[in-house]
Chain length 117, copies 2
């Protein structure tokens, strides 16, 4: 799973904040996780994703979308739905999902100072 | 920094999504990070926080607040403002902040199945 910063357009847009606690072991998780990012990038309305996980297995992934409609379409994507089933069966102990509308954004870089989205 | 799941009320509420790339070394970061969570918990309108960082130094912290006013008040908190200065001077290579209004939320637990916020 990549950990680069997402390059996003100016708000408004939508964020799906997925926080999760993994079980022990990989069990096919890594490959599916990479595949889901690859598939999401092909979805209409996908804007970007940022993701990280600590050694304790607690992770946060935030996927950014143009609209609620784009989020719903991704939910219905067949391979993604199957991966969610595996997530509940095999990979996660607990997860929380919050869907939010991004209203403002800004960034900062050591080299270039502040930027505003 | 704790990595527990935040227990949140029903939406709507606000999320401040902070993604960051750390520089090498601790340089006082860990202690200040813990202190900021301790201080945030004392702020009016603070609802919870979830945070994690990978071995590559890329991290995501999501803080949840009752309102935009609560977020603005936290921005003006003196010790927090000083910590942000140190962040730019010493700790971060790059960061992005997105402020979003959470509209719906749900969770899942291995033991108990789905819950809805």
């Amino acid at each position: 799973m990549t950990t680069e910063f997402a390059k996003l357009p100016k708000p408004p847009y939508y964020a799906v904040i997925f926080s999760s606690q993994r079980r022990e072991g990989d069990d096919g998780y890594g490959a599916t996780s990479d595949r889901m990012v690859e598939l999401a990038r092909q979805q209409p309305g996908f804007l970007g994703v940022e993701s990280t996980r600590g050694d304790d297995g607690f992770g946060i992934t935030v996927a950014y979308w143009e609209s609620e409609e784009a989020i719903k379409a991704w939910r219905l994507q067949t391979e993604h739905a199957a991966a969610r089933e595996r997530g509940r069966a095999d990979w996660y102990r607990h997860f929380e999902i919050r869907v939010a509308r991004v209203e403002r954004a800004y960034g900062w870089d050591q080299a270039g100072g502040h930027t505003r989205g």
